[in-house]
């Protein structure tokens, strides 16, 4: 066979058949490099080498032999593109075609499952993941995905087992088991076993006195659970631990930012007392950042219903560090014409206004969570970049205006790609972890499950109510319709979950009281 240097097929490039022996490969290579030496024909040489390096090594050759043919590869790529654009419906069809030709292709099956998860077809999703598990080709991520599916199907006990299996596997493979342990913990919370969830987290953190920075996610989760149980002693202990956690300034800044996030969620949920305490620890960690102190003040004033002071604080701290939340609140309030607070008899108006304020915040925050909730590769948390203020980052996107193009003066602002977009020679693939629900919903996070679900349902219904006049059921435009439907789906999911929890609660003893 004549070697075809232009070919993308490594066998054709070396003039070989796929059955060629290692000796054939070496012989073909030797003949070609004589013709295309590194000195005389460097570009051709590179192509010869690329093919030779892949085919001369037994492991890489086996991997190469399992590549997709160009048509299937294009199908797969189109599905990946659709998933990236969150068009999961469009991704299912090509993925299933790929699977019809190559039922052994683990990653395609995993991706189909992920699509089903997003499309609320949890049963089918679970089927795909279990198929992979049965075949023994499951990575920790596949177990975790199965766990997510089981959770959506209200099979919390099974889901917990899946997450634990994922965590075990990850530990064995020397990967980070944190997201999987947290998944298992959430399943315990979903079953109302908050005490068990807490001890599972304590176990994960380990017995050492000194906690390490990489335990941050366990600690914050534990903090949320303890707050949910109003275990004041445990909360104090955890806050002290968190305060001493970071050794580097950047780590401390990160811890403060995480605490600010939790404080903000608490404030929004109306838990002003704990919100204030958590925000104060953030303020201690970042004494130069007045926004943390402002957040704690906001909590205080909201608790006392001093709306004027709230508005004043909100106006003077336009860019509260975590996510610019106060700025978002102010802008929203302004757009609703809420300022300045009218003088009126306290009782009735206050109730309305409180509603308005909380409602305003909810909408804003929900849109944040929606975005994260739907992303297959959840956007990692990171502190606002050093050279852009949080205002720039979140204020605009949250409120729907186009983010203005900004020239960033930052050097080398590159990030390693997430697994999906990592450099993958177009025909290669590897199983990867896709964790569509890595981000917790805010109320599950507070450990106050049934109450949380209630509020969550209310908030979703409010959002749907806002959309309704703009988008009557008869002729809703595409984007609005998808958004409305996803809200509706989510609402129904929460209703189901709440019902399931309630029936289980009825059969179970209540959580042990945290204050004897």
């Amino acid at each position: 066979m004549t070697p075809d240097l232009a070919s993308d097929d490594f066998y054709l490039r070396l003039g070989l058949v796929p059955e060629a022996t290692q000796d054939d490969v070496r012989r073909a290579y030797r003949a070609l490099v004589r013709q295309y030496t590194p000195e005389r024909a460097p570009e051709e040489f590179k192509r010869v080498r690329q093919a030779y390096e892949t085919l001369s090594d037994a492991a890489t050759r086996r991997q190469y032999d399992q590549r997709l043919d160009p048509a299937l590869s294009a199908l797969f790529e189109s599905a990946m593109k659709a998933m990236k654009e969150e068009n999961y419906q469009a991704a299912v069809e090509p993925l299933q075609q790929v699977l019809a030709a190559r039922p052994d292709m683990a990653i395609a099956r995993n991706q189909v499952g992920v699509c089903f998860l997003h499309l609320n077809e949890s049963e089918r999703a679970l089927g795909e993941f279990q198929h992979l598990i049965r075949e023994g080709s499951a990575s920790p991520g596949v177990y975790a995905n199965a766990g997510h599916a089981q959770k959506l199907l209200q099979q919390f006990e099974e889901a917990g087992r899946s997450f634990e299996r994922a965590a075990d596997l990850a530990t064995m493979q020397l990967q980070d088991a944190t997201p999987f342990v947290l998944g298992a913990v959430d399943c315990l919370v979903d079953r109302g076993l908050v005490a068990e969830a807490r001890s599972r987290l304590t176990e994960a953190i380990g017995a050492e006195r000194k906690v390490a920075f990489n335990h941050l996610r366990y600690l914050t989760r534990l903090l949320e659970l303890c707050i949910g149980q109003e275990d004041s002693t445990a909360v104090n202990k955890l806050l002290a631990q968190l305060r001493g956690l970071g050794s580097e300034p950047e780590e401390q800044q990160y811890v403060a930012w995480r605490l600010g996030q939790i404080a903000f969620q608490l404030v929004r949920a109306g838990n002003f007392a704990y919100g204030r305490r958590v925000a104060l620890v953030g303020a201690m960690l970042q004494p130069h950042d007045a926004d943390f102190a402002a957040l704690s003040e906001v909590a205080l004033h909201l608790a006392a219903r001093n709306d004027e002071q709230v508005l004043q604080l909100v106006t003077s701290h336009l860019s509260f560090a975590p996510d610019g939340a106060l700025y978002a609140l102010r802008t929203y309030l302004e757009s609703q014409g809420v300022r300045p607070p009218p003088v009126a008899p306290p009782s009735a108006v206050d109730a309305v206004r409180r509603n308005v304020i909380i409602w305003g915040v909810l909408v804003l925050v929900v849109s944040v969570f929606r975005a994260v909730f739907d992303t297959p590769d959840p956007a990692p948390y990171y502190p606002p970049p050093r050279h852009a203020t949080a205002t720039d980052l979140v204020g605009e996107t949250l409120l729907g205006s186009e983010p203005a193009a900004r020239v960033s003066p930052l050097p080398a602002v590159l990030t390693a790609p997430p697994p999906l977009t990592a450099v993958r020679p177009s025909n290669y693939y590897q199983a990867e972890v896709v964790d569509p629900f890595a981000e917790r919903t805010p109320y599950a996070a507070l450990g106050d499950s049934i109450e949380g679900i209630k509020v969550r349902i209310q908030e979703l219904e409010r959002q749907m109510a806002i959309m309704e006049p703009d988008a009557p059921a008869a002729n809703r435009s595409g984007g609005t319709s998808a958004r409305y439907d996803s809200l509706l789906n989510e609402r129904n999911r929460f209703v189901n979950r709440g019902n399931a929890l309630r029936s289980r609660r009825a059969a179970m003893p209540a959580d042990p009281p945290s204050h004897p």
Binding site: N214, L410, T415
Partner: protein, 518 residues
């Protein structure tokens, strides 16, 4: 086109070779050399004339401060070396040696020589390689290629064996460096499979151990401090070096240093005692044993076991030490080691063969050589993961050590911020996980990235060619706009001004030698 000369610019000795009728040949008629082996020493004589080789070596004993040896160990460092009242960069000192070899080759060939292939240790980094290129330029040579020394040695071996199909280990223990390289020679195609090295281990370290020992014996026997004066130290060094060399051929030698001091009686003090090979071997055994780690590493890269190696080539003067041969032989199960290639000359011969490949004098049907990158090349990135703050200045490799070059590699990265339109791609070379541990090579900035949410994709392409120039291309995948740059190390390379200054200093030295020549 005139001949291209091949130069082995060594720590202790240097050689020059040319290709004659398809075969490499050491030029033996080099002034200041022993049969073509030129000590890499530069000095300035009493009347200000430049001396190279043995003539300069002699100066070290009588006029300290007027000669420089082992300059190769300083290559790539931003330092000045004093010599006879002037200060020179390491590049300039090396240029004096190169120029001497060039002039001697011209005399031998009877025609001008303009181009050269120069060998460098496989371990040399980008800065050390650039410094070698600068030295060549200062000497008036166009350096067509830098070739790794172990590769050159294997080429000299491979050229003689057109039909061979074998795996070769080159164990190159020179004056200052150890390189261990695994190659595959198959019907005239030489592929370098892996290459590891230690740039702080060589014959000089053996000398040092021996010097310390002789000095302590001297204190014990005659109570004289040999390290007390510069002149005595030079004599001690020469004595130790000669004793080491003599012990390769005999079981014991007499250390004899007359007139090292005066006794109270006014009698001169002499040092004389027997040194056995066993004693010497005890002194350096740990150094030699430590080289087995490198042998292990070189084989491990390709998963080759010692028994799968067909040929062991010993290169470099220090492999004459019997203990080195014994320990290397033991590593390979007591097999015989190849020494047909002359340890001192193999590298220069290989350089001459590469010169023949460069100017197409050697037919690729006869010999083709591929080489590997000696260092990892990559970019600085910010690594983002959930649950911790972003890590800045993480080194992300694109071209790995031991990968065959020339090579082109593409990798996709993402922007970090919403609305980001600029990235500065900083390129580093080295094996550290953080860029701080590596050598900065250069940077290229792309200032017209399509604005959008964080996560805009950028493709970075590295093209590394045989002259070890790195071409970096940064492409915005959305718009297709790209920028590219050729990388030259910005730091520590001689700037044009420095180059001019170095030129004029060298002219000063040379004109005193060869009046009328420019």
């Amino acid at each position: 086109m005139g001949a291209i000369i091949g130069i082995d610019l060594g720590t202790s000795t240097s050689e020059v070779a040319i290709l004659r009728h398809g075969r490499p040949l050491i030029i033996r008629e080099v002034a200041g050399s022993r049969q073509g082996v030129l000590p890499s020493v530069v000095g300035v004589g009493a009347s200000g004339e430049l001396r190279i080789g043995e003539a300069a070596e002699a100066l070290a004993l009588v006029r300290p401060g007027f000669s420089v040896a082992e300059v190769k160990r300083e290559m790539g460092k931003p330092i000045r070396i004093p010599m006879a009242g002037m200060e020179h960069s390491p590049q300039e000192i090396s240029a004096m040696i190169l120029r001497h070899l060039k002039v001697e080759a011209e005399r031998y060939l009877g025609e001008p020589v303009t181009d050269a292939v120069i060998t460098v240790p496989a371990r040399f980094n980008e800065l050390q390689r650039r410094a070698t290129l600068d030295a060549g330029e200062l000497a008036g040579l166009r350096v067509r290629r830098l070739i790794n020394e172990p590769t050159a040695a294997a080429i000299a071996y491979g050229l003689e064996r057109p039909g061979a199909d074998e795996r070769i280990i080159v164990y190159d223990l020179g004056g200052g460096t150890l390189d261990v390289t695994l190659l595959e020679l198959s019907e005239g195609v030489i592929d370098v499979l892996s290459s590891v090295g230690d740039d702080r281990l060589g014959g000089k370290d053996f000398d040092e151990r021996l010097m310390n020992w002789i000095a302590s014996e001297c204190r014990r026997l005659v109570d004289v401090d040999l390290e007390g004066s510069a002149a005595l130290r030079q004599r001690l060094k020469a004595t130790a070096k000669r004793a080491k060399e003599d012990l390769s051929g005999s079981e014991s030698v007499t250390i004899s240093m007359p007139f090292i001091g005066l006794a109270a009686s006014g009698e001169p003090v002499n040092l004389e005692f027997e040194l056995t090979r066993v004693t010497f071997e005890r002194l350096v055994e740990d150094l030699v044993l430590s080289t087995r780690v490198l042998l292990d590493q070189a084989l491990a890269v390709k998963g080759v076991s010692p028994s799968q190696v067909n040929t062991i080539l010993l290169v470099g003067g220090s492999t004459r030490v019997p203990l080195v041969r014994k320990i290397v032989s033991e590593f390979f199960g007591g097999r015989t080691l190849r020494t047909e290639v002359n340890a001192d000359e193999a590298v220069a011969l290989g350089a001459a063969v590469v010169a023949g490949l460069v100017n197409h004098e050697i037919d690729p049907g006869q010999l083709v050589v591929t080489d590997v990158s000696s260092w990892t090349l990559g970019v600085a990135i910010t690594e983002i993961a959930e649950g911790r703050p972003p890590r800045h200045d993480v080194f992300d490799p694109l071209i790995m050590r031991h990968q065959t070059i020339p090579r082109t590699v593409r990798k996709t990265y993402q922007t970090h911020q919403d609305g980001q339109t600029t990235v500065v791609v900083r390129v580093f070379q080295g094996e550290g996980a953080s860029v701080d541990a590596n050598v900065f090579v250069g940077e290229v900035s792309h200032e017209a990235i399509t604005a959008g949410p964080a996560g805009q994709e950028l493709e970075i392409e590295f093209s590394y060619d045989l002259s070890e120039t790195l071409q970096v291309r940064v492409r915005d995948l959305e718009s297709g706009r790209q920028v590219e740059a050729r990388m030259h190390p910005t730091k520590e390379r001689l700037s044009p001004d420095d180059m001019k200054a170095a030129q004029s200093r060298l002219q000063q030295r040379w004109q005193r030698d060869h009046p009328g020549e420019t």
